[in-house]
Symmetry: C2
Subunit: 236 residues, 2 copies
DNA sequence: ACAAAAGTGTTCGGGATACACCCATGC
DNA sequence: GCATGGGTGTATCCCGAACACTTTTGT
């Protein structure tokens, strides 16, 4: 694939973009258009790093090109550089089509991001393929070593989440405690007790009740909460 | 510096080797011989990655060449690839001397290791300079972005240490509870209460008492403990 | 009145923390 | 006998886990 921008042909970034829909956690995958060679496996969005471009910068660029998103939590995760990380025949064919020197070992730096799916509007022109959300429970065999990259990213996201209270940016600005609980359950992949969860959240003093309530629901409306002023929504 | 081995000229590893001497935590630094150009800053041991060599493999090679050490905890830490990570004049001069294309941006994958200083016998031939231990409290200004690499490595080591009980390999095979406490204090950089520490350790059931005691000390000899058979000394 | 989700308290066990004195040994 | 580190117990607080019923609203 000819490219007029100068790139580092052996350095790439891959982004594991976790999306929350209010209920479950999903990962953004790219599905190539079938170009008649049976190269059907899905993969993570990623790109070679441009000359003069930083790693974080490249990851942010991929995310921006893909969905015009800026300022989301985007953390470096792990770097994969096994010289044999590409050993499947389908992957090799793909490289022959899209890369200038398909034999070269490519080191990829993986990043993960956490976004609200409703905000995420994929830009169809950004990849030679289609973007789709895949439930975290149900990820198929991916190209290259991308299954491993997703696993590591999920693990790190979970560790990060349990240490520093990130994730509020995935909720509306006023939200119910149940929505918050669903977010926690989606990320940790565990069920939580409603009462214990609420006690814990109250203890943390990060959110506060408003005097508004849900509207338009067919049951008792829940009280809405918001992040307390002065609490940064972005973790470290 | 001509090199007959084929290398990836834009990929390196740097190793943050933490050493424990029974009392404090240190970092291994390389001090170049002064070649009359005032290139006096210390740096981390590291090297370009060879063609066909994996990242972990390269880090292990550096550690092995430096001290003939194998099978130590060596974990990938973070990847640094800012195109301007080399902007000091001294660093640029150093690159002109030691690298074929000193202008190229080099991405470095950092690793950290945790070793017992007594086991560590530096191999003088392995670097064009001298290896020295520097107390973690007292690290000077280093070359390139190596101060930042050390900081990140220490932070990750501490997080790793508090989650999964690593570090027993830094003690003799039979050790006193005080030695173990000093290890914890050196890594976490915090003081601990003796009684509470002992209760906690007992609860974890990773070590057990032997019926041996210290010898040759000028006070009441302490009981010696060992890791219970079947407990892996290596963390994950 | 019924369906659906909201909201609420108590008990138990275990771990974290704070704190001070006697003990065994070598010299 | 004295200096040096070794070794021990108790009380408090907070947190995590387990667990079931009443309330409010829309239809």
């Amino acid at each position: 694939m000819p490219n007029s921008i100068e790139v580092n042909s052996n350095l790439s970034v891959d982004c594991v973009i976790f999306g929350f829909d209010g209920e479950r956690l999903n990962v953004l995958l790219i599905e190539e258009k079938d170009i008649g060679q049976g190269l059907l496996r899905k993969r993570l969005p990623g790109d070679l790093i441009h000359k003069g471009e930083g790693l974080d910068e490249a990851a942010n660029r991929v995310l921006f090109e893909l969905a015009s998103l800026k300022n989301v939590l985007l953390k470096q995760c792990h770097t994969f550089g096994d010289p044999h990380r590409v050993n499947d025949e389908k992957d090799k064919k793909w490289l022959e089509i899209y890369r200038n020197n398909p034999e070269e070992r490519v080191v990829t730096v993986s990043y993960y991001a956490l976004v609200k799916m409703a905000n995420f509007v994929p830009n169809p022109a950004s990849f030679a393929g289609e973007a789709l959300w895949q439930n975290i429970q149900d990820i198929p065999e991916l190209a290259f070593d991308h299954n491993e990259i997703v696993e590591v990213a999920l693990w790190k996201l979970q560790r990060h989440f349990e240490l520093s209270k990130i994730g509020y940016e995935l909720l509306p600005s006023k939200f119910t405690l149940n929505q918050l609980q669903q977010l926690h359950e989606a990320i940790t992949q565990e069920e939580l007790d409603k009462r214990n969860f609420r006690k814990k959240i109250v203890r943390e003093k990060i959110i506060e009740a408003t005097d508004e309530k849900q509207e338009g629901v067919l049951h008792k409306p829940a009280r809405l909460y918001r992040i307390k002023p002065g609490q940064s929504a972005l973790g470290n």
